[in-house]
């Protein structure tokens, strides 16, 4: 979330789409209701189903799963056509006026942007760049720099953003971002939106009018928010849906403002933290980009991943990622301590280099193909989570070993006795499976990072039952035992294992508070802040990431968490609920990254002079007398940057402004989002039938990877989701939740049930080309039959919560078919998230 949960109460308008917060985040959703109750805020819900969120909405549109870009693109078009845009914001805080260089082509005709290579299914993105400008902003011809091919076979240096960008503040230049945007979305007419999304034209226009009404007559006081969740990410164009929303919010000037923003509601308690901490292959903690083999030295890596400012000449840009080397060195110092020195490149060679995709579905594919031999699954039920549970089970059969850390028996640890496996087959499965009993949440302390980026310390309430062990103790003990083995027998490249810092008071059961201190970071030498004259002694905790150095005198496990555990103590455990501004900032409750800022980009909540757009919702402002940015929130900005210096509020972008056009390699599939059909879609893409799907999305090739088409009889659009009564594959072990919703079901439209002669409660079988799912039918008016591109189309919905181990499962009350037997292995090219939503199935009586 750019903003926070409580901040939603400040909004005037909500677009909830690709998310169902009433069901999946009920306690956060209260703030949406508060906005309705206290501000008469309006709520628009766009969803494939009439959800519990829709039940309290002012306007509901039933959309076909996966058609979101068409809807949002249509709203962008509507906003431009009707001049419902935030002109000043757009000019000063976004790249709308930037001029894109010649050679860039929109996908109007053929469905692909310039630079597409059909054979490799990738883009050559050098044309996705700004034109360089002179002092007045006029484009200057590109210098034909001779690209030297390094003799060692490394690729040529990646194209970079121009240091000074050409611009046109009149927004008239046909190559300026605004004009390109207008042109790009001019095709997303209400008629086209209706054809793609199935939302009747008049209803779409009602929604577009209502949402953009916050900028009626150029008024800047009101704020609108967009709230989404995995309904957007679970697509082969998921990242681009979110970008469309971000662009719309930039267009309307809603980002950075109380009650505004683009708000991702993460689905689980600490996946925000896991992302921050880089529990994923392609990042290091704090969103540092992982080194590739071509990064032959620390310096080469740092150079590649450290951007340079790129902006109109007379503007300023903080370009905060310019500090990347400080964060990177401090991270390596935290990892390897004294073993990381300037002389040995900060132990850079200890870091594994990544030039391939090792993400979730590739992991299973690699296991399936025998590359991956051993898997640790700690609280991660890969079989049930899918996609394509069958393929994941097949993959596990081929693994050598599997270590599961869990609190309940789950599908993954018992893959070898999944339904359909005979005793004979079981005897042939050679995988060794260890199932280790872990601690439940109440038995552990530590921090979770919520969707609003708050790190909150929790306390252990009671001892673990039975022979359970703390997760951190298990990992520490495994690691220490491995290290012992390497001490005895060096094997392969033992250094990183032997030299990793592990100097916790109890190494075999590290105290999490101690670990958090390490994450926060400390200085090895006495230090002083030149501006404030604050001094630190060697060995003290650093108070913030501004103190981090690239000379090896500081260590920090994760720079964005720097400031969470300082000499003042564990700030994540703070419990002062005070909120003097009444904006729900709660500055002294727990701790929020970065630097305890509660609303990101909050500089954008002020006009060019540093005055809040809405004086009743004052977040930060420029204090003329102290010549500083001050406020109720921590300014997400350089505190002494005068408004007249025109520093952009989006300090993490080298441009300093919000990207309506995303240049170069920011995204794999285009600088503007374009609507593509899900990989399994009932129709050809009405925008460009010859390019129906996202052109850079690749299909997998194992025999278990199959993709269905309407021609094969798969004509029904299927979406999967969670229920408010259940939590993923966890509460099926909880008798209370099982009582609330005892059995799996499939929601189908009344019209479809009538056609099939099916009554609610009767069993049906949903089949995709990959597998079948059997459950009872819930016949409902809440999913209506739709007209998609003139074709009668049905959508159905499947809650995901059941598998083959659980209370109902063990009592024989379900068909033991995990919902993800149906979903395809295919991923978003940017975030590598599988397309769990909007695949094709057929439906029969069971």
């Amino acid at each position: 979330m750019t903003n926070g949960w409580v901040d939603i109460k400040n909004t005037d308008m909500m677009l909830i789409m690709g998310g169902n917060p009433a069901e999946n985040h009920p306690c956060g959703f209260k703030w949406a209701i508060e906005a309705k109750r206290n501000r008469n805020a309006k709520m628009i819900v766009v969803d494939p189903r009439f959800t519990r969120t829709a039940s309290v909405a002012d306007l509901f549109c039933q959309i076909r799963a996966g058609a979101d870009i068409a809807f949002l693109g249509g709203v962008i078009r509507y906003a431009i056509e009707n001049n419902r845009i935030a002109k000043d914001y757009l000019l000063n805080y976004t790249n709308a006026a930037f001029i894109v260089k010649d050679g860039f082509k929109l996908p109007e005709a053929d469905g692909v942007f310039s630079g597409f290579d059909a054979k490799s299914q990738t883009y050559e993105k050098s044309s996705w760049n700004y034109a360089g400008g002179d002092a007045s902003g006029k484009p200057v011809p590109e210098a034909h720099a001779t690209v030297a091919h390094p003799s060692n076979g490394a690729p040529p240096p990646a194209p970079a953003l121009p240091e000074k960008v050409a611009y046109d503040f009149s927004l008239q230049n046909p190559n300026c971002v605004f004009q390109l945007l207008k042109k790009h979305y001019s095709r997303y007419t209400p008629e086209m939106v209706e054809r793609i999304t199935g939302i009747p034209k008049d209803q779409f226009e009602k929604a577009a009018d209502l949402f953009t009404s916050v900028r009626k007559n150029g008024d800047m006081k009101k704020a609108a928010t967009i709230i989404y969740a995995v309904g957007w990410t679970h697509h082969t164009f998921g990242t681009q849906i979110i970008r469309t929303a971000a662009m719309l919010q930039l267009l309307l000037g809603n980002v950075g403002r109380a009650g505004g923003g683009v708000n991702a509601l993460r689905g689980h308690s600490n996946i925000q933290g896991a992302t921050d901490m880089a529990g994923i292959f392609d990042n290091l903690p704090g969103y540092l980009k992982v080194p590739t083999p071509a990064d032959i030295s620390f310096e080469a890596w740092a150079k590649r991943v450290t951007p340079k400012p790129a902006k109109p000449g007379k503007w300023d840009s903080f370009n905060y990622w310019g500090n990347t080397p400080k964060f990177a060195v401090s991270f390596l110092k935290a990892m390897y301590g004294d073993a990381a020195t300037k002389q040995n490149d900060w132990a850079f060679e200890y870091l594994p280099k990544v030039d391939r995709n090792y993400s979730w579905v590739y992991l299973w594919d690699n296991m399936y193909n025998g590359i991956l031999k051993g898997l640790f699954a700690f609280g991660m039920n890969g079989v049930a989570i899918g996609p394509d549970s069958r393929k994941n089970i097949e993959a596990l059969k081929k693994a050598d070993w599997l270590v599961v850390g869990e609190i309940y028996p789950d599908e993954t640890s018992e893959f070898w006795k999944s339904p359909g496996i005979t005793t004979d087959e079981m005897k042939r499965i050679q995988t060794t499976v260890y199932r280790l009993p872990c601690a439940g949440f109440a038995e552990k302390d530590g921090t979770f990072t919520n969707s609003a980026r708050w790190l909150q310390w929790k306390n252990a309430a009671l001892p673990m039952p039975g022979d359970c062990r703390l997760d951190q103790a298990i990992v520490a003990q495994i690691f220490l035992k491995v290290r012992e083995l390497y001490k005895k027998d060096p094997g392969k490249f033992p250094d990183p294992v032997l030299k990793l810092t592990w100097n916790y008071t109890d190494p075999s059961n590290p105290s999490l508070a101690e670990v958090l201190k390490e994450i926060n970071g400390k200085t090895f030498v006495d230090a002083e802040d030149p501006a404030t004259k604050v001094q630190l002694k060697a060995g003290q905790q650093v108070p913030g990431f501004a103190w981090l150095k690239d000379d090896g005198t500081t260590a920090c496990g994760n720079w964005i968490y720097c400031g969470s555990y300082t000499e003042a103590g564990n700030l994540t455990a703070r419990r002062d609920a005070g909120d003097p501004s009444g904006l729900g900032i709660h500055q002294n409750w727990a701790w929020s990254w970065p630097a305890n800022r509660r609303v990101l980009y909050n500089r954008a909540s002020c006009d060019g002079d540093g005055k809040p757009w809405d004086p009743t919702r004052r977040q930060v402002w420029w204090n003329e007398s102290t010549q500083k940015w001050v406020g109720n929130d921590v300014p997400d900005f350089k505190v002494d940057s005068k408004p007249k210096d025109h520093m952009g509020p989006f300090i993490m972008n080298p441009e300093g402004v919000g990207r309506i056009f995303a240049p170069l390699g920011a995204f794999a599939d285009g600088p503007f989002p374009e609507f593509y059909e899900p990989i399994e879609s009932p129709i050809d893409n009405p925008l460009h039938p010859q390019q129906t799907h996202n052109p850079v999305v690749k299909r997998f090739k194992t025999p278990d990877d199959k993709y269905g088409t309407p021609k094969d009889g798969y004509t029904v659009v299927c979406t999967t989701y969670r229920l408010t009564e259940h939590y993923h594959y966890w509460t099926k072990n909880n008798p209370m939740n099982v009582q609330l919703v005892p059995e799996p079901f499939v929601e189908i439209p009344v019209e479809m049930a009538e056609e099939m002669g099916l009554r609610g409660g009767e069993k049906l079988k949903v089949s995709s080309v990959r597998g079948s799912y059997i459950a009872k039918a819930m016949v409902t008016k809440r999913i209506k039959q739709m007209m998609i591109d003139g074709k009668k189309t049905y959508q159905i919905g499947i809650p995901i919560h059941w598998g083959y181990r659980g209370i109902a499962e063990d009592e024989g009350k379900t068909a033991l078919t995990p919902a993800n037997l149906l979903s395809p292995t295919v991923v978003d090219p940017n975030a590598y998230t599988p397309e769990f939503k909007g695949f094709l199935v057929k439906v029969e009586r069971a």
Partner: protein, 193 residues
């Protein structure tokens, strides 16, 4: 709690005098005292492990943390001080007591041997020793020091870590440290999906 302190009415009905004669208690208590079950329980502030709202919860356990008591949960309720949930909980958060006190919890390490048709119990020591040996062997067998182009990669593609959604930041950090040190690149998390 002392009932007399509460001043509930207990009234003798007609025929009270008959009580002695017939041996029945003819004095029904009109308001039977229901005591507040958490009155002297210990409170521990925690965070709900389910969605990303991260509601504050209070876990009530028996005992006052005195040495001779093994705490057991008696109730879980929202933390009214928490700025986001303000004491509220959803149906999952409200049922956390059943998550803590759950008879389906795994209580001992188990192993399923190759070709096995059932779980076998295993001691922690044996389990961890075996796992460590497998990690080392797998890593040593498949470790890639250089790629085809001759660049140093120092990675181990044959071991994967998949982390759950309820792992704490500190735990994740320990995982990142230890796995990256082993050269593990298949490092994934619920965060992806």
């Amino acid at each position: 709690m002392n009932p007399t302190r509460r001043d509930f009415f207990k009234i003798t009905t007609v025929g009270g005098a008959a009580a002695a004669v017939f041996g029945f208690d003819l004095k029904p208590a009109f308001a039977q005292l229901r005591t507040l079950k958490i009155a002297r329980a210990s409170e521990t502030r925690s965070t709900c492990p389910y969605c990303s709202v991260s509601c504050g919860v209070i876990i009530y356990t028996i005992g006052d943390r005195a040495k001779n008591v093994t705490p057991q949960v008696v109730h879980v309720e929202g933390d009214p001080d928490h700025p986001i949930n303000r004491g509220t909980l959803c149906p999952k958060g409200a049922s956390l007591e059943q998550d803590i006190l759950n008879e389906r919890r795994l209580l001992k390490p188990q192993v399923r041997r190759p070709g096995g048709t059932d779980w076998e119990d295993i001691s922690w020591d044996d389990a961890l020793n075996e796992i460590a040996a497998k990690v080392k062997k797998t890593r040593d067998d498949t470790f890639i020091e250089r790629d085809a182009a001759g660049h140093t990669v120092n990675r181990c593609e044959s071991i994967a870590w998949t982390g759950g959604c309820t792992d704490t930041n500190e735990f994740n950090y320990l995982v990142v440290k230890s796995m990256r040190a082993l050269g593990v690149v298949h490092l994934e998390n619920q965060a992806r999906v």
